[in-house]
């Protein structure tokens, strides 16, 4: 593990469209946290990265979490660091929010809300889709 790779910005190579699909609630399983870490690491490779939140995955972005009582890290704050990692394409499916009584105002970061058809075509145009 060296800092070297991080410095290889602007290197040659093909830029692919990567999509990370988040469908799990935070804390109950380790998927949400692991998925976020993979995204942060992927940022070092300068690819075209999108993050999608559907189904229970929308719960990952809820504002105002307080994890002291269950003694785990509050990684919801880390979603706000994504911008600094140049990961700015965050998409949330409207139907998933509606089914949970949630709206954009309940989320900790700015996102683009898509209807299911828009989400489907976004998925269809990716080179690589990785699901958590």
């Amino acid at each position: 593990m060296s800092d070297m790779m991080d410095d290889m910005e602007g290197g040659e190579g093909v830029v692919k469209k990567f999509m990370f699909v988040n469908r799990k609630a935070p804390h109950g399983t380790v998927y949400a946290l692991e998925g976020l870490e993979v995204v942060l690491i992927s940022a070092a490779f300068d690819q075209d990265v999108s993050m999608v939140f559907t189904d229970d995955g929308v719960y990952e972005l809820i504002k105002g979490m307080n994890t002291k009582g269950i003694e785990v890290k509050d990684f919801s704050k880390t979603y706000r660091a994504l911008e600094g990692y140049d990961i700015e394409k965050l998409y949330v499916e409207k139907a998933s929010m509606d089914a949970r009584g949630l709206s954009e105002d309940d989320l900790i970061v700015d996102v683009t809300v898509l209807d299911s058809a828009e989400m489907a075509s976004l998925m269809a145009e990716q080179d690589v889709v990785i699901s958590f």
């Binding site: 799990k24 609630a25 935070p26 804390h27 109950g28 399983t29 189904d55 229970d56 719960y59 809820i62 504002k63 105002g64 979490m65 307080n66 994890t67 002291k68 009582g69 269950i70 785990v72 509050d74 919801s76 089914a99 949970r100 009584g101 949630l102």
Partner: protein, 99 residues
């Protein structure tokens, strides 16, 4: 009987099975990802509300808070802390975990 559910109702059918099998007068404690079911506007909210006629519904407070949902708890659902969790277990002669 105390029923304990820890899975999200929008991902697994544990809560649904539990509510189908729980008999009148039983208690249901929602923990971990199951707590989302007891929040306003969730798809499972209606099931919880109708179940409250026959069952006592509890949810673990620290799990609600960790998920940022403490301000959205359905009326009639009682929040308990870890001490309350232990009390529920000791008050009931049997426990069933819907894993």
């Amino acid at each position: 009987m105390l029923h304990i559910v820890n899975k999200s109702a929008t991902e697994r059918n544990s809560l649904e099975s539990c509510l189908r099998m729980a008999t009148k007068g039983s208690a249901v404690l929602l923990i971990e990802d199951a707590v989302y079911a007891a929040t306003q506007g969730s798809e499972a909210a209606a099931k919880i509300q109708s179940a409250m006629a026959d069952l006592q519904i509890y949810a673990l407070g620290p799990d609600m808070e960790a998920r940022g949902m403490a301000g959205r708890v359905l009326d009639g659902v009682k929040l308990v802390d870890y001490g309350g969790f232990v009390d529920l277990v000791t008050e009931h002669s049997t426990c069933q975990s819907w894993l």
